[in-house]
């Protein structure tokens, strides 16, 4: 027992004396969270739109001031002719244009139908759709106000859309479980496999094997520090999400930690497996980075919708532990669900962890070859 503790302490020395490892451990999650949270968001913000107001009446002014109130748009108020508008689109100075026809207010009040034109740059269809959705939402808002003021007479049906779980369409929400899965996968798998393979490279593994210390304890001594460090990493990401990205943890934090521990065990086992089959640190690094990162990115479901996978790859997410972990974290952290809702996923993830751990322990060689 004392040997194990001393061994674990030695592993911590290795980690804390190596700047590279520390960087991967704590720099990587921070950068990932901040990058995904701020830089790589798919939200639209500060979009330049031109407002072409031929009406210049009460209604158009009110609508425009509503648009100005939104942080998503930067309004350029100018009377542009259609050819000028097209030039602006081509120069990319505007992403969309909102055109009020003359007599907008009169038409609206007398016929009950006001017509507006929204022109969007659909060369980037996703952004275009988002912008038009925002615009129609704001217009709809205005319509409702008008109707309330006008009394029950002009019935107008306004489709109400409510964004479940993410009413402000906060893009940070969805990727946090994904980043969690990715970071834990990289940290646990890569660092564990590299830590073991380094002993092989240095020749210390031979000495460790030719000692009274049981070979399996070598693996445990290697795994325990990375389990602890990974949980630290998990805490770091949670704190960053809550305090920097304003994403609240809705479900039980304790449940999250338990589920994360199960996932970490799966990752550690993968790391042990990789260390069994490689003999250089570079190889171990490559295998765990490439071999683990790609499936995690592709098959977890947070980067690309799984529905888009070709039929022959539909089974793939089911065998990726990160996929199940992603589902669990989404349910617990974002939707606030309890264990009852995720017991199936947990069972699958736990089964994978046990199986991987079993395989890696069985494969661990008590000799060199």
């Amino acid at each position: 027992m004392k040997q194990l503790l001393v061994f674990i302490r030695k592993e911590f020395y290795h980690v804390f004396r190596d700047r590279r490892t520390l960087l991967i451990l704590f720099g990587l999650p921070t950068v990932q969270i901040l990058l995904f949270g701020f830089a790589l968001s798919s939200e639209v913000k500060d979009i330049n739109i031109a407002v072409v107001d031929f009406a210049r009446d009460n209604a158009s002014q009110q609508l425009i001031s509503k648009l100005q109130g939104s942080t998503r748009f930067r309004l350029q108020r100018a009377v542009l002719s259609y050819p000028e508008m097209e030039t602006a689109f081509r120069r990319n100075t505007i992403k969309a244009a909102l055109v009020f026809p003359a007599n907008f207010n009169v038409d609206l009040l007398h016929t009950g139908h006001g017509q507006l034109q929204i022109i969007a740059d659909a060369s980037d269809p996703n952004t275009a759709t988002t912008i038009t959705n925002y615009l129609t939402a704001i217009i709809g808002d205005y319509q409702q106000e008008l109707n309330q003021a006008a009394g029950p007479l002009p019935y107008q049906i306004i489709p109400e859309t409510r964004m479940l779980y993410n009413p402000d369409m906060n893009g940070s929400l969805n990727f946090i479980p994904g980043v969690l899965a990715l970071v834990l996968m990289i940290v646990c798998t890569t660092l564990t496999s590299v830590a073991i393979v380094r002993e092989k490279e240095l020749g210390t593994m031979e000495v460790l094997l030719v000692s009274p210390f049981r070979p399996l304890l070598v693996l445990i001594a290697k795994a325990v520090p990375y389990l602890v460090l990974s949980l630290l990493d998990f805490t770091l990401i949670l704190l960053l999400s809550v305090f920097v990205l304003d994403v609240a943890v809705r479900g039980s934090v304790l449940l999250l930690y338990l589920e994360t521990t199960v996932f970490i065990i799966a990752c550690l086992s993968l790391g042990l497996l990789i260390s069994n089959v490689t003999s250089t640190q570079q190889m171990a690094m490559l295998l765990s980075m490439m071999g683990m990162m790609l499936p995690t990115l592709l098959f977890t479901g947070y980067m690309f919708p799984l529905e888009n996978l070709p039929v022959f790859l539909r089974w793939a997410p089911n065998v990726v532990p990160a996929h199940w972990y992603y589902l669990i974290v989404k349910a617990v952290m974002l939707k606030g669900l309890g264990f009852g809702a995720i017991w199936k996923e947990t069972l699958i993830l736990a089964g994978m962890s046990v199986a991987l751990l079993g395989i890696s322990l069985r494969n661990f060689n008590i000799r060199l070859a």
């Binding site: 004392k2 040997q3 001393v6 061994f7 030695k10 020395y13 290795h14 004396r17 190596d18 240095l202 020749g203 210390t204 031979e206 000495v207 460790l208 094997l209 030719v210 000692s211 009274p212 210390f213 008590i366 000799r367 060199l368 070859a369």
Partner: protein, 316 residues
């Protein structure tokens, strides 16, 4: 019963295509300082790994301290000391941390066996807070030896401990081994340096997985057949060429600034006949002197006697 015994040990790699150890048998007596001498690729490391239970032999049996390497591997692992060839300690731990880690690993403490490593450790103690990665090659070897000795092993396996170490440190290292031997520890050491062979009590000369000869260094030299001369002339390259064409010479090879010429028998006028032969080939500045063969001469001799291995070299 020997401290270490090998019987018909055979080991191949790459699914049997590369023969590393070919039917090797020998016995190391308790308390003996035994050397495996041979160039890289002779099979020394494979033998060490088989004896330290790190590799399984394809066939044959071996015991260490009476324990079978295959069945009783756990018993062997807790009693022997092993210093692998590429052993380089934990670079990011200090000298003291390295030593105390290995002490704990072997279920002992530095204090418990301090007398055994005292002499060696005192030399590196001034640097005990320095990280192992910042030590010189010789210091590293001393620290590694301390780590291998810290649990007072019954048998000590040292795989090429002096490779990559300067001449002074090498000499010191062998002095230390001599003193450890006096403590009753059986030492099995390997080295590619022929000049270190004489520091062992008995040696096995190895080449291509085979043992060429096992005996005391003195007996191995004594067994050298025929006479050996060191020859020098002003034009060395043609000299070697002409000596190889000389019928009475068994073999000729460059050795430092001389060419060593081995003769078939002990005829008295060997050197005189050779001098006339060389003078006939218009050589000037001829020096011919009889010399006592070294281990290396004997090794080259044994190697050339086994024609299959003639391509290998043992010259420096």
């Amino acid at each position: 019963m020997g401290a270490v015994t090998l019987q018909n040990i055979r080991k191949t790699y790459e699914k049997g295509t590369v023969l590393a150890v070919d039917d090797v048998s020998f016995t190391v007596e308790p308390g003996e300082l035994f050397g495996l001498i041979g160039p890289d690729g002779a099979g020394k490391t494979s033998i060490f790994r088989i004896l330290t239970t790190l590799l399984l032999a394809d066939s044959g049996t071996a015991t260490v301290d009476g324990h079978d390497v295959r069945k009783d591997y756990r018993a062997i692992r807790s009693t022997v000391g092993y210093m692998p060839g590429k052993f380089s300690l934990y670079q990011d731990l200090t000298v003291e941390e390295n030593l105390s880690f290995f002490a704990t690993l072997f279920e002992t403490t530095i204090a418990a066996n301090y007398d055994l490593i005292k002499e060696i450790y005192e030399q590196i103690e001034p640097f005990k807070t320095r990280r192992a990665g910042q030590l010189s090659g010789g210091m590293k070897q001393k620290l590694a030896l301390c780590c291998a000795l810290i649990h007072k092993p019954t048998v000590l396996f040292l795989d090429e401990p002096t490779t990559g170490v300067d001449a002074v440190s090498r000499k010191e290292f062998w002095d230390m081994l001599g003193r450890l031997k006096q403590q009753g520890i059986t030492i099995l050491v390997s080295t590619p340096y022929m000049d270190e062979a004489t520091r062992c009590e008995r040696i096995a000369l190895m080449q291509s997985g085979k043992i060429l000869s096992i005996d005391t260094p003195a007996n191995i030299i004594k067994a050298y057949p025929g006479k050996l001369y060191a020859v020098k002339a002003d034009a060395m390259h043609p000299l070697l060429h002409h000596l190889r064409a000389y019928p009475a010479a068994r073999s000729s090879y460059a050795f430092g600034e001389f060419v060593h010429v081995a003769f078939w028998d002990d005829q008295a006028d060997d050197d005189e006949a050779l001098r006339q032969y060389l003078a006939g080939k218009k050589h000037t500045g001829i020096v011919i002197k009889p010399i006592t063969p070294s281990i290396e001469d004997r090794f080259i001799d044994l190697m050339t006697a086994a024609p299959a291995n003639a391509h290998a070299t043992a010259t420096r």
